[in-house]
Amino acid sequence: MNVLLTLSIAATLALFFGVLRLKNLATPVIVIGLLASLVFNAMEWNNTTSIFNDMMLYNNFTVAFASVGLFITLILVLFYSELSAKHEFHLPEILAIMLFGTVGGIVLLSFRNMVMLFLGIEILSLSYYVLAGIRKQNVYSNEASLKYFLMGAFSSGFLLMGIALIYGVTASLNLNEIAGYVNNAKGIVPPYFLVGVLLILSALLFKVAAAPFHFWTPDVYDGAPTLITALMSSVGKLYSFGAFVLLFNSCFIPLIADWEVILWIAALLSMSVGNITALYQKSVKRMLAYSSIAHAGYMLLALVGINNLTSGSVLFYALAYALASVVSFVVLYIVRDKKGSYDIASFNGLAQKNRMLAVVFTISMLSLTGIPLTAGFFGKFYIFNSALQSGYYWLTAFAVINSFIGAYYYLKPVVAMFASKSDEEITMPALSNSLLILLGILIILIGALPGFISGVI
C-alpha cells in the first residue's frame, strides 16, 4: 500500500511542479519517489498484507516482481531525463505518467479481485496510450498511439465480457471465491464460465503481445518514442505476465485441460512469427519489436505447463529480458540520435567510435540470443526446465530451435558495429554511460550466478 501511495504522491507532485514551472524539481521528486517505493516494497518481504478487504494481497510474489519493475522504471526515468530532456517540453508530465503506469503495474501484481485486475490493466494501458503518442507532431508516434488505443480498448471489452460471465456463474469477483468454485466444480463448469476464462485469456494474450493477438506490437513499438518502447517492452511485459501468472495460478489450474492448448498454440505461433519476421527487418527497432513477440512466446512456455516453477522462471526471464531490452533500446536511441535512422547500417563502426557502447550492446544482444554466461541464457534455461517438468518435450525442442534462429538476426547489428568504419564521434552523458555499464555488468553477473535470483520465489 505504501508503495502505491508513494508512487501516486510523487507523480502528482511532479505534475504540479510541471504546472508551476518548477520543472527542475520534477525529476528529483520522481527519482526519490521511486527509491522510496523500492525501499517500502522491500520492507514488505515475508510480510503478507491484505489491502482493501482482500481486493489486493501484497506478498512475496508481488515484492519480487515489483522490485524488478520499480528498478527498471527508475533506470528508464534516469535515462529519459538525461537523454531526452533537450527535446522534451513536457518532461515532468511524461515521468509522472510513467509512474502512474507503474501504479497500474503493481496493482496487476497484487490483485485478488477481478475489479482490481481490470483497474490495473486500464491504469497501465491508459498511461501507455498517452506515452506512445507523446511526440505530438510526429505522425508515427500519433499512429502508434491510436493503434494501441483502439486495439487496447477493444481487447478490454473482451476482458470485461469474460469477467462478467465468470461473475454470472460464481456470483463473486473475488479470486479466492472463484478458485473455491472451480475447485468444487472438479473440472466440470458451465459453458458460460469457460467462455469467460477463454475471453480473459485472449485479452491477456493481447496484453503480453502473443500471436495471433500480436499485431499491434510491431507498429506500436516501432512508432512510439524509443525510450517509451523500452518501457513498454520491459516492464509492460513484466506486469502483464505477472498478472497472467497470478490469475491462472490462483484460479484456473483445475481447468488446465481446456486452456493449455490455446496457450501452447499461442506460444508456438509467437515464437515462430516473432523470430521469422524479425529476420527480414532492416530497422533494428522493428526487429527488436518482432523479437519481443518471440520472447513473449518463450515466456508463455512456462505458463503452458503451469507448475511451482512457473512464477520463478517467468520472473527470471522477465528480468533478463527487461535488462537486455532496456540496454538495446537505449543504445538504439543514442545511435539514432546521432545517425538519424534505425537501420542496421547506423550501427556501422560503432565499435571504433565508442567501444563501451558497442560492448554493452553486444552483451545485451548475446543475452537476448541466450548465450551462456548472460542472464538471457538462464532465463531460457529456467523456462525450458519448467516446461520440461510439465512434459512439454516437443514444444521445448521447438523453442530451443527457435532460440537458435534468434542468433542470426541479433548478431547483424553486432557484426555491423565491428565490421565497418565510421567517422562520427558518439559521446555519452556521464550518468547514462555509467547506467549502461551497470546494466551490462548486471546482465553478466546474473548470467554467471543465476542461483541468487531464481531461488527467490
Partner: protein
C-alpha cells in the same frame, strides 16, 4: 421487492447483452472512422455493464454493480484520452480514417 426487472428471466439479459456486444464487435470490424470505432468499443463496454447489473440482481450480490461504476469511470477516462489522441491525429493528418493510417507496417 419484486420489480419488473426481476420478472424477466436472466437468459433474456444475457441474450440482449450478447447481441449488443456483437454489434459493438461488428462495428469495430466494419467501420473505418476512428470515432465510430471508438463508439463501438463503448457499446461493447455498455453491453458488459448491462450484463453485470443483471447478474448482480440475479445473485442479489452488489459486487457486479460496483464493477459497473468502475467501468463507467474508466470508460470516461478512456474517452478523454481517446478523443485527445483522435484530435491530435486529425490536426496532423486531417483525417481520422483508420485505413489511411498505415505508415507503420511490415
Amino acid at each position: 421487492m419484486n420489480t419488473i426487472f426481476q420478472q424477466i428471466p436472466i437468459e433474456h439479459y444475457i441474450t440482449l447483452s450478447a447481441i449488443l456486444f456483437c454489434i459493438g464487435v461488428l462495428g469495430v470490424l466494419t467501420r473505418r472512422n476512428a470515432i465510430v470505432l471508438f463508439m463501438s468499443v463503448e457499446l461493447m463496454l455498455n453491453s458488459v455493464n448491462l450484463l453485470l447489473v443483471a447478474f448482480s440482481m440475479f445473485h442479489a450480490n452488489p459486487a457486479g454493480q460496483i464493477l459497473v461504476f468502475f467501468i463507467m469511470a474508466v470508460a470516461a477516462a478512456e474517452v478523454a484520452i481517446g478523443l485527445a489522441i483522435i484530435v491530435m491525429i486529425y490536426r496532423n493528418l486531417k483525417t481520422i480514417d483508420i485505413a489511411e493510417l498505415s505508415k507503420l507496417k511490415h
